[in-house]
């Protein structure tokens, strides 16, 4: 992993029957060989990942994958992270700052409890703004509203980088478009191999089909076909529910099993 750069990801499998699941590299301690990923439990595999204990191991991890985020001196940069997207903007903000940009990070979550990596994010930028949908912490509203406020005030913004739910990134693209601010987002379509072999990750960008795992995951937000991406992400909803229900009932069974062995 020594070669990993901001914006890249890994693909891991938890166990032998496991799926290949992509995860952004949230941090990398090259000296001690520690890779940090931050994930949200949304379905079977992430729930299972969450159930692992310290010292457990994964079947395999492959990476770094994907084209690194292009880092250069733009001037004033804003990094916008929504929900779990706060994690992957952290290394990008750090890299942008390192080459001499002025970096503002806007991080947001549904509520205060769900807000992650506040301290790390503060350290990786010059100016941190926090928002929560319910107003329980920081600005009351969405991260996109914070960015809109900055642009409306006429502050100079040269570059925006963002990761978050697709709906948030679509809203963000609409906010920056009238100001013609270069806006790069990191997409997360369904993937399998992550090396350009299968085409599962295809997205339409500027009317061209791209493979997000090798051509991206970073793309120009103003050219992405978000409607298609949203639909493609929902391709396995039915199967995902089956897998999750199965997993829950297995967990219940094993919990039950453990109980029955407890001395009463």
């Amino acid at each position: 992993m020594e070669k990993a750069k901001p914006g890249q990801f890994v693909i891991l499998r938890i166990d032998e029957p496991g799926e290949r699941i992509p995860m952004s590299i949230a941090d990398l301690d090259k000296k001690n060989g520690i890779l940090t990923i931050v994930f949200q439990e949304v379905g079977k595999s992430t729930a299972q990942l969450g159930s692992l204990k310290e010292g457990d191991s994964l079947a395999d991890v492959v990476g770094p994958l994907g084209t690194p985020t292009h880092i250069e001196k733009y001037g004033n940069c804003v990094c916008v992270g929504g929900g779990i997207g706060i994690a992957p903007i952290h290394p990008v903000a750090k890299a942008l700052k390192e080459v001499g940009n002025q970096v503002t990070s806007i991080i947001g979550a549904r509520n205060k409890e769900l807000l992650i990596m506040e301290e790390e994010s503060r350290a990786s930028c010059d100016n941190l703004i926090i928002s929560t949908d319910d107003g329980s912490y920081g600005f009351h509203g969405f991260v996109t509203q914070v960015l809109a406020g900055i642009l409306e005030k006429g502050e100079k913004v040269d570059f925006v980088f963002s990761v978050g739910p697709v709906l948030m990134m679509r809203a963000l693209a609409r906010v920056t478009l009238p100001y013609k601010v270069r806006t790069i987002i990191s997409l997360n379509p369904i993937m399998v191999d992550g090396t350009g072999m299968c085409g599962a990750c295809r997205v339409t960008v500027g009317n061209q089909t791209k493979f997000a795992c090798v051509d991206g995951p970073d793309f120009d937000a103003h050219l992405v076909d978000f409607e298609e991406l949203l639909k493609r992400q929902r391709m396995y909803l039915k199967e995902e529910k089956v897998a999750m229900d199965n997993f829950i009932s297995k967990m219940d069974q094993s919990a039950h099993h453990h109980q029955s062995h407890k001395p009463s």
Binding site: M1, K3, R13, P17, G18, E19, R20, K44, S45, A59, D60, V61, V62, G63, P64, L65, V192, D193, T195, G196, M197, C198, G199, A200, R202, V203, T204, T209, V214, E227, E228, K231, R232, R234, M235, Y236, E239, E240, V242, A243, N246
Partner: protein, 454 residues
């Protein structure tokens, strides 16, 4: 050869032909004339001593036959199953002029299976260590062959593979019902036993480049990364849900075992009306997989006619027996979808054959106004692969041709970079297992010679 009846086998993923019993193998071997000037050998890309190994089967020395095969072909259990024999060795067998040719492939499979099942695979003599290290990129038939040959010559060998399992197309592409994965695994295990080191989940170009590998002490490098970049039709609606590349569909089903979802986590959408675009082996594998995943109707949609189909005859025949329908001289021009982004139907146009093109086959041309709609919920695009650019892109000075294939000497695999050799689909474009293995054999010899000059 006895095989599972079609109505039974479309419900499982088990291998279709059962393989010869000893008795059947003996009978078949006795049909060979043991020609003084055997024509069959010239038909085999690696020039197996065909009458030689068949003779040993006839004499009941099956292990000896397997050894004979391995002198020139490191993957006989695989090639006996998947070689296009009808266009190679069996096509030129003298008997084929008047009768059925000797079933060379079936006999090859028998000997290799016998040896494996007897558990008598002996560890060959390994030359004394040369102290030279070779990196092999990609674990398909080309890479595996180079690894096996070089380790026996006393070199130290590491195979780097991007996926989590070694075997290339043999594990992710060709389905279980045609090539059981346990056979590929036993080939890989055998190499590991000889001392080959396998580093899976290792993408060369991303983790380390070719130059990094040299810097870390490898003396020579073989690139066998295959033709793994799926081509699409580039027609409207191609990103609708339900449209897969054959690579994705087969990888989900084979490598990730989606056919046993939810015991395995990876899902696959198994539609009721499935159309597969293309006429090669990949198309046949996809359409037969679709049937096994529960399709009511499975179609091959091919823009030329039956005679131009590049797939193996056996596989076309198997597909037909299993109920696959063939729409020849038909090409898709557009996909129609539902509101929520699912494939609903495919608009096709009829073709007719015009003048011969560069490939010598008559070029299909559309018949104006012949459009019609096919109701399908799944389409699998199996119109070929291009080469993956990852390694060439990250290796300065490595020459490629206009299709992105690495330029290499066909006799040695030597590329434009000193110490870098290449072979298999990354050089030829999508070809066959035996050609990839053959290229590996030649490259191994050339690498050995190169290492001696260092």
């Amino acid at each position: 050869m006895p095989e599972q009846p079609p109505e039974q086998r479309v419900k499982n993923f088990k291998e279709v032909p059962f393989g010869y019993t000893e008795e059947l193998a003996k009978i078949e071997s006795q049909r060979c004339l043991f020609c003084k000037k055997p024509l069959c050998i010239a038909g085999c890309p690696v020039e197996i001593d065909i009458p030689g190994f068949i003779k040993l089967i006839a004499e009941g020395d099956y292990i000896g036959a397997a050894k004979k095969l391995k002198e020139t072909n490191s993957l006989p259990a695989v090639c006996g199953r998947v070689c296009p024999q009808e266009d190679q060795c069996e096509k030129v067998c003298i008997l084929s002029k008047k009768y059925e040719p000797v079933a060379i492939g079936n006999l090859e499979r028998f000997a290799a299976d016998y040896e494996r099942e007897a558990g008598e695979i002996e560890i060959p003599k390994i030359e004394k260590s040369t102290g030279k290290k070779v990196a092999i990129v990609g674990s398909g038939p080309a890479g595996l062959t180079v690894a096996g040959d070089l380790i026996k010559m006393g070199h130290q060998v590491t195979v780097f593979e991007a996926l989590h399992k070694a075997g290339g197309v043999l594990v992710y592409g060709i389905p279980e019902f045609r090539l059981p994965k346990a056979i590929v695994q036993s080939e890989v295990d055998y190499l590991a036993k000889l001392g080959v080191e396998f580093k899976t989940s290792y993408v060369v170009g991303m983790l380390q480049t070719i130059d990094d590998l040299f810097a870390s002490g490898y003396h020579a490098i073989f690139i066998g990364t295959g033709a793994g970049l799926p081509n699409f039709m580039k027609i409207p609606g191609e990103n609708l849900n339900g449209i897969y590349s054959a690579n994705e569909y087969l990888t989900r089903s084979n490598l990730m075992k989606a056919y046993s979802f939810p015991e395995n986590d990876t899902p696959i959408f198994s539609g009721k009306n499935v159309a597969v675009l293309g006429g090669g082996n990949t198309a046949m594998d996809s359409v037969r997989t679709a049937l096994r995943l529960g399709a009511d109707n499975a179609y091959i949609v091919y823009r030329r006619s039956r005679t131009e189909m590049p797939a193996r005859k056996d596989e076309i025949h198997h597909a037909e027996q299993e109920g696959v329908k063939f729409d020849f001289l038909t090409a898709p021009i557009k996909f129609h979808g539902t509101e929520d982004g699912w494939l609903k139907s495919m608009e096709c146009i009829q073709m007719k054959l015009g003048e011969p093109d560069e490939s010598g086959r008559r070029r299909p041309v559309p018949v104006e106004g012949s459009n019609y709609i096919m109701d399908v919920d799944t389409v699998i695009v199996a119109i070929g692969n291009s080469s993956n650019p990852l390694v060439p892109k990250t290796t300065p000075g490595l020459d490629i041709n206009k299709w992105g294939n690495i330029t290499a000497d066909p006799e040695t695999g030597q590329t434009s970079r000193r110490g870098v050799f290449a072979g298999g689909d990354i050089v030829t474009g999508g070809a066959t297992v035996i050609l990839a293995a053959g290229a590996g054999k030649k490259a191994a010899r050339a690498i050995d010679a190169y290492l001696k000059t260092l």
